[in-house]
Symmetry: C2
DNA sequence: GCCAATCACTTGCATTTTGCAAGTAAATTG
DNA sequence: CAATTTACTTGCAAAATGCAAGTGATTGGC
């Protein structure tokens, strides 16, 4: 089990343990971007929500440390990394999709991003 | 649309807008507890993750302000409130369930809470 | 090859949020 | 009635986020 963030105590609850890995806004937004097909720092940085550079770098590191993404040397630019979902990370699709669908149903003015992969890899 | 938390910019993305409402660990844990059937402050406080009293009070207020729960005078104790999911709140069940199932599948040592309502109200 | 621009992060510090523990008023219990 | 319990509230320390500048590497133009 992942060590709980903050002062939260240990719990065997799968919701709590999952939230220790993904339970913050920026992590989930980055996951959304990964499902949309973004792979590079610059792309995540350009998302409309405006993540801070330190938060983005830190979150990508954590996602990699938790086995949700793999960072490989980029073929586009020397010295930068390409980030891709692992199978473990891809298995979060139902979570991201459920959030999206709730948002579409309950929040006026929202529109789905073009290109989010909802099918099989 | 709900005003974005922190310095996040406005976005039409349903994931981002939904996360403005529910995208933090404590909110999702409280939602879990509500689905389990907890209704009172004391019950949420007793969850194994150990939420702080100020965070609990603040989150319950926000959930109510966002129309996800309704606070009514408690029949159990004078002067306290009973918190229940609204229909809008209940429509988050697929989100909480998806998180739970990911946790069960991906995080060793987790066990589902007894009594979480997965069927229809 | 040189230099400016761009990029991928990193750093320093201000602001905000969370966490801890004590406080307070109301309600319950003995 | 006094003590205990409960439902929050408050004050402040610790942690996280946000902003903006910094740094080294790479690219592109000349």
């Amino acid at each position: 089990m992942v060590k709980p963030k903050g002062a939260g105590k240990r719990s065997v609850c799968p919701v709590a343990c999952a939230l220790d890995v993904i339970g913050d806004r920026w992590t989930l937004l980055i996951l959304r971007d990964l499902f949309v097909g973004k792979t590079h720092y610059r792309e995540f940085l350009a998302s409309p929500e405006g993540i801070a550079t330190n938060i983005l770098a830190s979150r990508l590191d954590e996602l990699a440390a938790n086995g949700l993404i793999r960072a490989t040397p980029s073929r586009e630019r020397e010295g930068s990394r390409s980030y891709r979902l692992t199978a473990r990370g891809r298995s979060l699709l139902p979570v991201v999709r459920a959030i999206k669908e709730w948002g579409l149903a309950q929040i006026p003015g929202t529109r789905a991003l073009v290109g989010m992969k909802t099918g099989d890899r």
